[in-house]
Symmetry: C2
Subunit: 150 residues, 2 copies
C-alpha cells in the first residue's frame, strides 16, 4: 500500500507535527509513505526527523502533481493538508488525477468553509494553529488507515 | 552533561524543527536533554516525535523557571529559542538563575535587535520563518556542543 502526504506552504506550525504523526501511523501499518511539499515544508520535515525514523521519502510538490498527471505513479491513500483555499485546490487536483482515496487534514482558525469545500473526502478537521492536540485526537479516532483503502 | 531547550510560544514553524534537530545532536553527544515550553510548544515536539527518538524529557516552561530559581536543578548548556522580545527575556532569566552556558537560537524576520540583546551568549542566528535550512547550517558549524561546556 502506498500513501501520499501532500503539503502546501507551512505557515502554521501544526502542519509539520501532524504530518510526522500521521507518517508514523502509516509506517506502522506497512504503508510506503511519500511526503510532497514545497522547499520549506520538506525542509521542516527533514530537519524535524534528522535520523529518518518517520520520513522515508520526500518529493517536490509540483513534480509530484506532474507525475500524477502523467500516470507515472499513484497511491492508495492521499492526505492533503489544508489551511487555506490553496489546500482545497490541491485536494481537487489530486481527486482529478489519482485513484487514491483522499483524506482532507483541515486546520487553522477558520475551518468551516474548508470542510465544506472538502466534501467527498474523509475529513480530519480541528481548529488548530499552534497546538496539534485537537487534530491528534481526530487522527487517533481512525483505528486503521489500511481498512479505508479497501 | 545536561542540556535544556527553552521554547516560547511557537508562532514560527521553524522552532519545533530546529529544537528536534538540536536535541538529536545533543543526544548523540551524550547529553541528557530536557525540553521546556508552553503547552503548544511541548505538544508540537511530542507529536512530531511520537516514538520519542529525539525528545526524551519535557517540562512546563514556568515550572522549569521555578525549579531553576529554587536551585532544584541546573544544566551545563541552555538553548533559548528567540524570535521576539519575550525570548530575550527568557535568556536574561536563565542567565540570572543558572550556571549553564547559554546559546541564543535566534530566528524570524527581524533578527538584528535580537542578536544585539543576546550579547554574551553563543549566537546561532538566521533569518528563517518557514524554512529551517539557514539555521541548520549555523548549527552544523558547531562541531561539538560538549566542548563548549568546558
Amino acid at each position: 500500500m502506498k500513501a501520499l502526504l501532500m503539503m502546501g506552504c507551512p505557515e502554521l506550525p501544526v502542519q509539520t507535527a501532524v504530518a510526522l504523526y500521521i507518517a508514523n501511523k502509516l509506517n506502522r501499518e506497512g504503508f510506503e509513505v511519500t511526503s510532497a511539499g514545497n522547499k520549506a515544508a520538506i525542509s521542516l520535515l527533514l530537519n524535524s526527523d534528522p535520523e529518518k525514523h518517520y520520513i522515508k521519502k520526500v518529493m517536490d510538490l509540483d513534480r509530484c502533481i506532474g507525475a500524477l498527471a502523467e500516470k507515472k505513479m499513484d497511491f492508495d491513500l492521499c492526505f492533503v493538508f489544508i489551511h487555506s483555499d490553496s489546500g482545497t485546490t490541491y485536494l481537487a487536483t489530486v481527486k482529478s488525477l489519482s485513484q487514491a482515496k483522499t483524506v482532507a487534514v483541515i486546520f487553522g482558525k477558520d475551518i468551516e468553509p474548508l470542510i465544506k469545500a472538502s466534501e467527498g473526502s474523509i475529513i480530519i478537521a480541528a481548529k488548530a494553529v499552534h497546538n496539534p492536540t485537537p487534530l491528534r485526537a481526530q487522527i487517533d479516532g481512525v483505528k486503521s488507515w489500511a481498512a479505508l483503502t479497501k
